[in-house]
Structures are given as C-alpha cells and as structure tokens.
Amino acid sequence: MSIIYVLITVSLSLALVFFFIFIKSVKSGQFDDTYTPSIRMLFDDEVKNKSAKKSITNTKQNS
C-alpha cells in the first residue's frame, strides 16, 4: 500500500515543477508585455515573402 507515498511524491513534485516554472517566467519578464509578441509572431512570413509582397504594393497603387 505504500504506493500512495510514491504517487503523492510524484504528483506533488510535478505540481511544484509547474509552480517554479511559472514563478521563473514571471521573474524573467514574460508577462510584462503580453500584447506585442502576438503581433510580432505574424511578421516573419512577410519578411521572407518580400518579393511577393512587393507586387501587391504595386497593384495597390494602381487601383
């Protein structure tokens, strides 16, 4: 029946790991700005497809 000790230890240490990860992420400033990263992640693709984008700019101008 001592399996319960193992289970509690495992579940607790798992919970503690998440707890410390959260504290660490707050400390490192991950929650200071929750808005900009959501926009920044959309940029990468556009920079890579610049040549494709350029043609769009031109058509925009003509219309």
Binding site: M1, I4, I8, L12, A15, F19, F22, I23, V26, K27, F31, D32, D33, T34, Y35, T36, I39, R40, L42, F43, E46, V47, K50, K53, K54, I56, T57, Q61
Partner: protein, 796 residues
C-alpha cells in the same frame, strides 16, 4: 481640385501641393524622405501592414546634441560597457503593427544597432547597440527622421531606477493558488469517509501535509492583511482587513489544534481558498494602463539638457547644473527651462503649458521670460536670472498639495461598513459562545471559532474590488482612464463640478476664425494669403490655412515688423496685416485676438480668432444642472463672458482671470467652507494645482499619448460630453456594491446558522466559502456590464 491622400501619413492634400515620388503622392518633403529611406533599405513592408501608418518627421537639427555628452547619456542608459549599451526609449507615436515592425527592423537602417524590441502597451523600445562615439545620438536622430521621435525629458533621468515592476502580488497569488488546488485534493477523501480502514491509515499523513501546505499561505500570501489590520488598529480604525485577519488567524489556529489532538482535518482548504480569492480581488482592482502616467509634474515636460553659450562655444549642459547668469540658446519648439531675460532673437512664446492660453506672446529683448514657455519662432538667446528650483513654475510645485497623497485619507465603502460588521460578528460570537458555555464548554469554543471563521468577510471584501475593477475597465474602453478604483467611489460623492475654459471647454485643435468688415474679393484673399505665406507667425499660419486659396501672386517689399504685423505689395497695392495699432494706428487694445487687414491704408476688416467650444457642451451642462453646482474657472480675461453666458445654464458661476494659485485657493476655500466635494476638469500645467487639490481631478486630453498633468483621471476629449453618464454610472456602481453586500449578508446568515448551532463541518465551509465568493464575483460582473451598456449606445 483633386485631392490625394499622403502615402506616408494619410493627410489629404491638393494637387498643387502634392509631391510625387515613384508614383506615390506625398503631402510634404518630410513624408517623402521617410518613404525614400525605407524604400532604399527594402523596408516598404511598413506600408503593407497598415495603410498610411506614418507621421511627418519633425525638424530636429541640433536638438539631440546633448546625447553626445557622456554624463547625460549615462543617466539614460540601462546598461553600458565598452562594447554594448542598452537604452529604453519612450516613443509616444507607437500605435500600430507597422510601428512594431519598422522599429524592430531598425538594425537594417543603422548597423550599430544589434537588436531592438518594442513593448507595445507601454509604447517603449529597448535598443541594444554598439557603444561607439555618437551612436546614441545617431540612433535618436534616425528614429526622429523616420517619424518616431522619442520623448526624453527630465523625468527619465530622475526616475530611471525607480520603475521596477512589483510582482509580489502575482507571487502571492501563485502560492495561494498552488496550495488551494493541492489541499483541495488532499482534503477530499476525508469529506465523506470518516471511519474506513484505508483512509484511517493515511489520515495523519494527509492532515500534516495540509498543515505544511498552509504555512506559506498564512505567513507569506496573507501577510499584507495582517500588517494592514494592525496598522488600522493602531490608528483606531476597524478596516475590513481586521475581520479578515481574524478569520484567517482563527482558521489556522483552530485547524492546527484539531489535527494535533486528532479531532478532525481542520479547514486548511477553505483557508487557502479564502486567501486565494481575496488576492485575486486585489489583483483585479489594480490599474492596468501601462502607457498612461497619472503622476506627472513639470519634470516630464522639461528637456534634460539645454545649449549653453560661453565664449563663442556651444555646449550641452544638464538643466540641474544651470547657474544664474548663464547664456542659453533656445531653438525652435524648445521649452524655456528657467526664468530668464531675452538677449536677442525673435521670441514668440507659447505659454499654453503654464497658463492654458494658446495664443503666443511676442517678447522684445530685455523682456522677462518665464520657465515653461515654448519658443515657436526660430532661435533665441536668453540669460538665466534664477536657478531652476527658484523658477516660477517649479515654485508652483512646492505647494503642499503635491506632497499630499489622496489615498492616505481615503475611506472606502468597504471600510465604512467593516466597523459595524466586525462589532456585530464579535457580538454574535460572544452571545452564542456564552449560551453554549452553560450547555457544553467544548462546544462553546467550537461555536465561537466557527462564528469567526464563517463570518470572515471574504464575499464583502470582494464586492468592491470586482465592481470597481470592472467599472475601471469599462470606463477605460470608453476612453475615460482612471488612476485607481478609489476614484469611482470619490466620483459618486461629487456635488460640485469646476471646469477650466481654455483647452477644456474649448478645443485646442480648432480655432474659429470669423471675418468682420468689407467683404474681400477672391483676388484680394489670394493676395493676403500670398503675403501670409512669408510669415512664420502662428496667427499668420492659422489664417493662411483658413483662407485656403491659391498663393500664386508675387509679393514685393515684404516686411515683417516684430510684434506688430506684416506688410507687402502686390501689383502696387500695399497690404498691411497685423495688430490694430499697426494697421489702424489706434492704440486701444481689443479684448479678443484679431488680425486687421488694410489695403492701401484703407481698413478692410478684421479676422477674429476665437476658441471653438466643443460640440455638445451646452447640452452637457443642461444635463448636469440641478444635480451639481457648476463653475467655470478660467485663467483668461472675461472677453468670453457673453458667449459663455449664452451657452451655459443661468446659474453657472463664471470666474475669470484666475492664476494657477488662485484656482487652487478657490477650490480649497470651497472644500473648507461649503464642504463641497469637487471634481475639477482641466488641461494644462496651470491647472495642476487645482487638479491635485480637488477631490477628483480630471485632465482633458485631445490625445492621451500627449502628456497631461498629475491627476486622478484622464478623459479623452472625444467623450468629454459623456461626463454626466460617467458620473451617473459611478453612483450606480456604488449601489451595485451595496446590493452585493446584501447578498453576502445572506451567505453569512446561512453560515452563521451552521456555526451557532455547532454544525460547521469542514465540508460545509469548503462549499459555502468558495460558493459565496464566486457568486458575488459573477453577480457584480453581470450587473456592472448591465448598467454600463448605455455607454455603448449613446455615441454622441
């Protein structure tokens, strides 16, 4: 006439003004240059993300020379060693995804920059760059040249290290939440089965785990409640934290005693749940406008350095180091940091920061110039006659009002009921304890502690934070930004409203120009416009924009007589444009600002400049009259009295020619004598004292990114006429709090029934406490959203 939209900044302009580059229309050379810079560097993606995202870059020549001074630069930098340096700059213009994109690709424009990162909500950019000579100045100039001029003021230097974010509340919530969840799991088995072989075997383990879990909650997370309760008791106030800490302490002690003597499992789960919910309430109430500051003083308006002239040499000097007698060079659009005397140059000083008066004043050499004025026309040379701390403007700030903290004396609605509440709870505990004492001593202790536990005012303590926190966010969505939740409670008590005139009731953006006199022919208008074009005087520019005609005529013999007017000849007709004295020869001064016109010495008429009152002002005052005492407190002369009397309800008090300190005294007087609760609306620094003295000081702002003085709230000018509605909603939210108090009393009575009869088991506590807290939160959230639905409907 065809109009085009500027590809860069979106300004509408006519065919003739349009500058074309690569088949794109631009309104000015500035915009075109920005486009060309970006185009050369393959950064035109900037224009794909948003339409017309840009801003016309400002003339900045020489403005940032002081950044080459290592002492000044050092104070601005976040980090510095021989190779790299890091700086965080505030850029008010950041407003869209294009801005983020271009600012994070800065390294493509300047190879010294290794990386840059934007914080959009705070409107700041953090740049890491090679620490070479002049690198900082080059970066700032680069930013300015593409329309993103950073705002660097004296405040940056003095508060650089103070702005560390306090995350302790988040840690406390994390601890409480962690413990809450885990102790719920561990307590669960014992809720139902008491005498079971398997469970009995592990009971001690579970119970002691619960005990150790609760330690950080009681001694770390709930710590602030104990300190606040003790502080309150020392002052003789029974604030809401007293019954809360009493409840937490009794919960902890009783539960510990129970597990030591094997009496039961205790209430550790309810304890951590209670603290968790209370902290969540505190978190929700926190103000969330990162990019707004409500604490500004003159320091955020002042530059950090000025150019000092000594023996034909120009050098940048920090403002604090200025001495009496120093010669200073003030460039166009720069602020005069110190009371001084004009030595030479064409001084056109805009005192709108200090007095709220928009029309600039002309100064002759030898005239005194006060700190806080902004030079509008070219370069001037001045000599300091005082040190900065002795200047008129800085002296204003030494008034006691600014040292006072309004929150210190603030007594919220929760605290006002907590006294009676605490006394009642203690009374019930004693009576029921006394009653049980005659029957069973053991139960008596049980009952007393149970009453204190169940009466712990979690639901009451949550009502106000969630109601006010939610209102704070709703107001913010409708462009009325409050400093903190307490402002709503103060707003609900207001009985007197005071308005500044210039910039508050009038719009600073638009000036109404009216013409009186002999009607001008189109040709004459064109000629006047052509002459005006040569002048840099602000009134000339405004009139030029107002006339909106072609400026094709050639002007000969153009002459600008400083402080008087301009004259010029077109086709041998002499045009005189300027003050009454200059044009008519009459020395008598008019009350209003006007420009007179004469052709060949024949008076044609005058253009009067009037501040335009905001739309809907009259209707707004009609809604307010009867509910509030209304006063208009203006720094201007009484030239506008007639207009205001027509516009506003009859019993509105109108007071003119008030200096900043008069305004402050006026409000203080009203508060002392008539016990009035005053809400003051103002804009410029001249109202700062009055805003601080009033119960609720509101800064009216055309653009919330532009700096407004220290205040309790900032309202966007576009929703200024919704003030009656905001005031009404503030009152209603107090009612919501009262209703939710009623609801939590119901929970308390149910809980007390179990407690007094000695039936409070851990499972009842574990159900009742979270249930009451959650239902209160749901109740107030629904109600506040319901009452504020009117805000979205009325879009006038």
């Amino acid at each position: 006439m065809n109009t085009h939209t500027c590809f860069h900044c979106g300004i509408e302009h006519s065919d003739s003004e349009s500058i074309i580059s690569q088949q794109k229309n631009f309104c000015c050379n500035g915009c075109k240059t920005v486009f060309e810079i970006l185009n050369e560097n393959d950064l035109t993606c900037y224009y794909d993300l948003e339409n017309t995202p840009g801003k016309i870059p400002e003339e900045i020549k020489g403005k940032y020379d002081y950044l080459t001074n290592p002492q000044i630069a050092e104070k601005l930098l976040e980090f510095e060693d021989e190779q790299t340096a890091i700086i965080t700059l505030h850029i008010p213009y950041i407003h869209c995804s294009s801005c983020i994109w271009i600012l994070e690709n800065l390294q493509r424009l300047n190879s010294d920059i290794s990386s840059s990162q934007v914080n959009f909500p705070k409107k700041t950019i953090r740049i890491i760059y090679n620490n070479k000579e002049n690198a900082l100045k080059n970066i700032v100039e680069l930013l300015s040249s593409i329309g993103y001029e950073p705002y660097i003021s004296l405040e940056n230097v003095e508060n650089a290290n103070l702005k560390k974010k306090d995350n302790s509340l988040i840690y406390k919530i994390a601890v409480a939440g962690f413990v809450f969840g885990n102790s719920m799991f561990i307590s669960f088995p014992e809720y139902f089965e008491v005498d079971e072989f398997w469970l009995n075997q592990y009971k001690p383990l579970f119970r002691w785990m619960l005990f150790f879990f609760s330690l950080p909650v009681v001694f770390y997370s709930a710590h602030s409640y104990f300190t606040s309760a003790i502080k309150g008791l020392q002052k003789g106030i029974l604030n809401i934290d007293v019954p809360i800490s009493l409840g937490v302490a009794v919960l902890f002690i009783r539960s510990t005693v129970e597990i030591i003597f094997h009496l039961g499992q205790g209430y550790f789960d309810s304890l951590s749940g209670l603290v968790f919910f209370l902290l969540i309430g505190k978190f929700f109430q926190q103000s969330t406008y990162n990019y707004l500051s409500f604490e500004r003083d003159y320091k955020s308006y002042f530059p950090i350095a000025v150019t000092k002239i000594s023996e034909q040499k120009e050098e940048s000097i920090q403002i604090q180091d200025l001495q009496k007698g120093d010669r200073l060079l003030i460039r166009n659009q720069e602020l005069i940091p110190i009371d001084s005397i004009l030595i030479n140059g064409n001084a056109m000083i805009d005192y709108s920061f200090v007095t709220g008066e928009v029309t600039p004043v002309h100064k002759k050499s030898g005239d005194k110039i006060f700190a806080g004025g902004k030079q509008l026309d070219g370069i001037i040379e001045v000599e300091a006659i005082k040190t900065m701390s002795q200047s008129y403007l800085t002296q204003l700030w030494s008034n006691d009002v600014f040292a006072k903290n309004k929150e210190d004396n603030f007594k919220g609605i929760t605290d006002s009921i907590s006294k009676n509440f605490t006394i009642t709870v203690l009374l019930i505990a004693t009576i029921s304890g006394g009653y049980w004492l005659f029957i069973d001593t053991g139960i008596a202790i049980n009952v007393v502690t149970a009453v204190l536990i169940i009466a712990c005012p979690c639901a009451i303590a949550l009502s106000a934070p969630f109601t006010l926190g939610n209102m704070l966010r709703i107001f913010g969505r409708h462009k009325f930004y409050l400093k903190n939740a307490a402002v709503i409670e103060n707003m609900a008590k207001i009985d007197s409203l005071i308005f500044d005139k210039t910039g508050t009731l009038t719009s600073t953006l638009k000036q109404q120009i009216t013409y009186n006199g002999i009607e001008l022919k189109t040709k004459e208008k064109q000629n006047i416009s052509s002459i005006l074009k040569n002048s840099n005087h602000p009134l000339s520019r405004m009139l030029h924009d107002f006339l909106k005609t072609k400026t094709t005529s050639t002007v000969s013999n153009f002459e600008e007589i400083l402080g008087k007017g301009i004259q010029g000849a077109i086709n041998n007709n002499i045009y005189k444009i300027g003050s009454k004295k200059f044009v008519v020869g009459d020395a008598q001064k008019d009350d209003d600002t006007a420009v007179f016109i004469s052709i060949n010495n024949e008076l044609k008429g005058k253009f009067s400049f009037q501040n335009q009152y905001r739309n809907g002002i009259s209707g707004m005052f009609k809604k307010l009259v009867g509910h509030f005492k209304l006063t208009v407190l203006s720094g201007d002369n009484d030239g506008e009295q007639k207009n205001l009397q027509q516009l506003l309800p009859k019993n509105t008090e109108l007071i003119f020619s008030q200096k900043p300190e008069n305004k402050l005294e006026f409000i203080d007087n009203k508060q002392q004598k008539n016990k009035e609760k005053i809400m003051m609306f103002g804009d410029g620094l001249n109202d700062a004292g009055a805003l601080a003295q009033s119960n609720v000081g509101v800064a009216v702002s055309e653009n919330i990114n532009v700096f407004s003085p220290a205040c309790d709230a900032i309202i966007d000018a576009s929703v200024f006429t919704k003030i009656p509605l905001f005031l009404k909603l503030a009152k209603q939210s107090i009612n919501v709090i009262k209703w939710s108090f009623g609801l939590s009393f119901v929970y308390n009575i149910i809980g007390l029934y179990f407690a007094v009869t000695g039936q409070l088991s851990p499972i009842i506590a574990a159900i009742l406490m979270p249930l009451s807290s959650i239902s209160i939160v749901v109740f107030v959230t629904i109600l506040t959203n319901f009452i504020s639905r009117k805000l979205s409907i009325s879009t006038d």
